[in-house]
Subunit: 76 residues, 2 copies
DNA sequence: GCGGGATATCCCATATCGGGTTATTCTCGA
DNA sequence: TCGAGAATAACCCGATATGGGATATCCCGC
């Protein structure tokens, strides 16, 4: 988890949320999760598996595949 | 974890490995992990986050993005 | 400063992980 | 059909991570 690639992933998720003009509470609400859930994965206190990542991307209003592509281009 | 999408993910990873003609021991070796690691994620006893998925895809000799695309087409 | 909204922290019972070891199951040649 | 190996599953169990409600902080505009 101290693998620098996780930092890139978090940065991307945070950037996507801000670009969408949404708060952690907004995203949490859309996913039926507490705000601490969003806070945690954005700060790397918790990981997201592939399925969760898909759900988060959707909640962010982003294109999941395009988001993954962006990430892989940065860390692959 | 009883979300059916996880089953689709596992099926895909197993199919990719078999298509590549590799064993769990082969993949585990390439990743510097024990065979039980591969056995676990293939049976859903353990989840893979995005970074781990990337590493697994590479070990499988598959194109990570293409693999994600295939998965999202099936479960998104 | 003050009121709120936004985000970070806490707590802690429960669930998951790591990985070496062992048990099962599968494959196939003789 | 039998047995040797290969391949995969299951086990153990201490170490870590997770869930989420509650609370504390931080950050602004006014």
């Amino acid at each position: 988890m101290h693998d620098p690639r996780y930092a890139a992933l978090r940065a991307l998720l945070i950037a996507e949320r801000e670009r969408a003009g949404l708060t952690q509470v907004d995203i949490a609400g859309r996913m039926g999760k507490p705000q601490s859930y969003v806070s945690k994965y954005e700060r790397g206190e918790r990981r997201l598996d592939l399925v969760e990542f898909l759900d988060v991307s959707k909640a962010l209003g982003a294109d999941p595949l395009a988001t993954v592509k962006k990430l892989f281009e940065r860390i692959a």
